[in-house]
């Protein structure tokens, strides 16, 4: 039984569907990376899992349970967490408060998790009383990831975590993602920087026009001449 599985998912914002029968399966040990051209439906796939848009056909299951079109306030306590690409921090609130909001659904003590997140992102520990809106892009991304980790997820979904970041921050974010995965958290992320992302992916999905094009381990996709020619710029 996979951690999360999409079976023939067709979804959109009303009107013509953006996803037309997408299949994805991720295990807890996986770092899954979705790549593909603009408008392929990469972000839409994550939103469809997280109930942010309507799944018209097909099913989404999480540990075998059907979560098709379930609302976020039900999914977060189940162990799913999502970092949107943009507007992913509460800008008027402090770093600390942002993290607290990530733990909103938990009824147990969150201080241990707070310490873990600060340990993972020492930059944030120093700025915990600062407003998230005053931070740099890379630091905001850390706040966003930290917020998502506060609910102790077993699946962490990230929408283009490296967008707009310098190469240094990009590598740091990827390393953190790999480290989070080592603690038993399944990762599903969408990436624009396809080569770097596939290099550390255990599973890669190439989407185009809302459909699966290629599926394999990250290395297989990098080595596939067709993938390289069509989607990785030769």
């Amino acid at each position: 039984m996979s951690l999360v599985e999409l079976r023939d998912v067709t979804a959109g914002y009303g009107g013509a569907p953006i996803l037309k029968g997408v299949n994805i399966a991720i295990e807890a040990s996986d770092i899954g990376v979705i790549v593909g051209p603009n408008g392929a439906g990469k972000s839409t796939t994550l939103k469809a899992i997280f109930g942010l848009l309507k799944v018209q056909e097909g099913h989404v299951t999480f540990r075998g349970r059907d979560i098709t079109n379930a609302e976020a306030d039900r999914l977060v306590p189940m162990g799913l967490s999502f970092v949107p690409q943009e507007h992913n921090v509460f800008t008027s609130m402090t770093v600390h408060e942002n993290l607290e909001m990530g733990g909103f659904t938990r009824s147990d003590d969150i201080t241990g998790t707070l310490d873990e997140v600060y340990g993972m992102f020492p930059d944030l520990a120093a700025k915990r009383r600062q407003k998230a809106g005053e931070l740099s892009g890379g630091q905001r991304q850390m706040v966003a990831m930290g917020r998502a980790l506060m609910s102790k997820p077993s699946l962490l979904m990230l929408d283009e975590p490296s967008a707009g970041l310098s190469p240094r921050y990009m590598m740091e974010i990827f390393e953190q993602v790999a480290r989070i995965n080592k603690t038993g958290v399944g990762i599903l992320m969408v990436e624009q920087n396809a080569r770097q992302a596939l290099a550390f992916a255990t599973k890669g999905f190439v989407l185009a026009s809302g459909q699966n094009r290629f599926t394999g381990t990250g290395q297989e996709l990098l080595d596939d001449p067709d993938v390289a020619k069509s989607f990785l710029g030769g």
């Binding site: 942010l52 976020a72 977060v76 999502f82 507007h87 509460f90 909001m101 909103f104």
Partner: protein
């Protein structure tokens, strides 16, 4: 010195009283805007409704023949606030929630709230009549006088008991709200939702619960403000409809969505109004000997005639929006 005490009684006391009412109303308006993103036009009439609920409860209690140390209308206030809150939740469930579920735009909700305004006004007139009433028909309105121990000072500092209570409850409400928003889990969730509703949802915050809490706070503060205003002046069906525009001006001046801004905006407008209608000639009279002979102090030196004091709020609103379009506390732009 007597003239300065007159100034204090006229401007400071009235400014704080009016400012408190504006602040309590504007906080509700700004919270609702922050969470639900629409201008809740019916807020003034929620205040009026709250005052009528308190009046009915006060009449019932007065019928018991008890002698209370505080005005009866004030004693029944907590119960009135509970009832007003339940009605506010009912109004949301009956009118606004179905529109939200259909994805209505803010302007639709605004129009709906004008409908709610008319409904409440109709109900208040139906059950309460159109006449002006007083909370102090069966008991005296307490007047507090403080004689100052200075030579030649004959005029005391004076204010009414409702004015004193109004300032006290406003201070308590502001501190309670501050602690709720900055310390409690739900209060922070409320700020989070006002900041970024989509991300609040993604974080698993129960947005329906946050909306309920918003109505509980806004509804109870509206009842508090309306009742205290009615205790201070008198109760009539247009009690708070008359001041709903300055209340909105206070919320906008403070920065929409900013609770502290709304409080600051409320007091700013309250003081500006009382300063503008104050007859400054009073303060010049003590110095009449030092003016040249040809200068005669006019009888009335107010900046604005009191009939036009409503314009003061809008002049300040226009000036603030020209200088700082998002309000003093940098709220959401509309």
């Amino acid at each position: 010195m007597n003239d300065f005490i007159f100034f204090f009684n006229q401007v400071v006391v009235n400014g704080i009283s009016l400012g408190s009412v504006y602040a309590l109303g504007a906080v509700g308006v700004t919270l609702i805007f922050g969470i639900l993103r629409f201008a809740h036009f019916a807020h003034g009439d929620m205040m009026t409704m709250g005052a009528y609920i308190a009046f009915v409860l006060a009449s019932l209690v007065a019928g018991l023949g008890l002698t209370l140390p505080l005005p009866t209308g004030f004693v029944v206030l907590p119960f009135a606030m509970v009832i007003a809150t339940l009605i506010a939740l009912g109004i949301d469930k009956g009118f606004y929630a179905p529109l939200r579920a259909r994805g209505a735009r803010p302007v639709t909700l605004l129009i709906a709230s004008i409908g709610v305004t008319m409904m409440i006004q109709g109900l208040v007139r139906l059950f309460g009549g159109v006449q002006t009433r007083s909370f102090f028909e069966t008991e005296p309105k307490g007047l507090i006088r403080i004689e100052l121990p200075f030579e030649g000072v004959t005029r005391p500092i004076s204010f009414t008991e409702p004015q004193l209570l109004l300032v006290i409850v406003t201070a308590i409400a502001v501190f309670a709200l501050h602690f709720f928003l900055t310390r409690s889990r739900l209060g922070k969730a409320m700020r989070a939702m006002a900041d970024n509703a989509d991300l609040a949802k993604v974080s698993g915050i129960n947005t329906a619960l946050v909306i309920r809490v918003t109505w509980i706070i806004a509804g109870s503060l509206a009842c508090l403000a309306g009742t205290m205003l009615a205790l201070d002046v008198s109760l009539q069906p247009a009690l708070a409809f008359n001041i709903v525009l300055p209340i909105f001006a206070a919320a906008i001046v403070g920065g929409l969505g900013q609770s502290y801004g709304a409080i600051a905006g409320g007091f700013l407008l309250g003081f500006a109004e009382t300063l503008a209608v104050f007859n400054w000639a009073v303060l010049l009279r003590p110095f009449r000997d030092s003016f040249p002979d040809w200068f005669e102090i006019p009888a009335n030196l107010a900046l604005v005639q009191s009939e036009y004091k409503l314009t003061v709020a809008f002049v300040i609103l226009v000036v603030v929006l020209l200088v700082r379009p998002t309000g003093i506390f940098k709220g959401a732009s509309s």
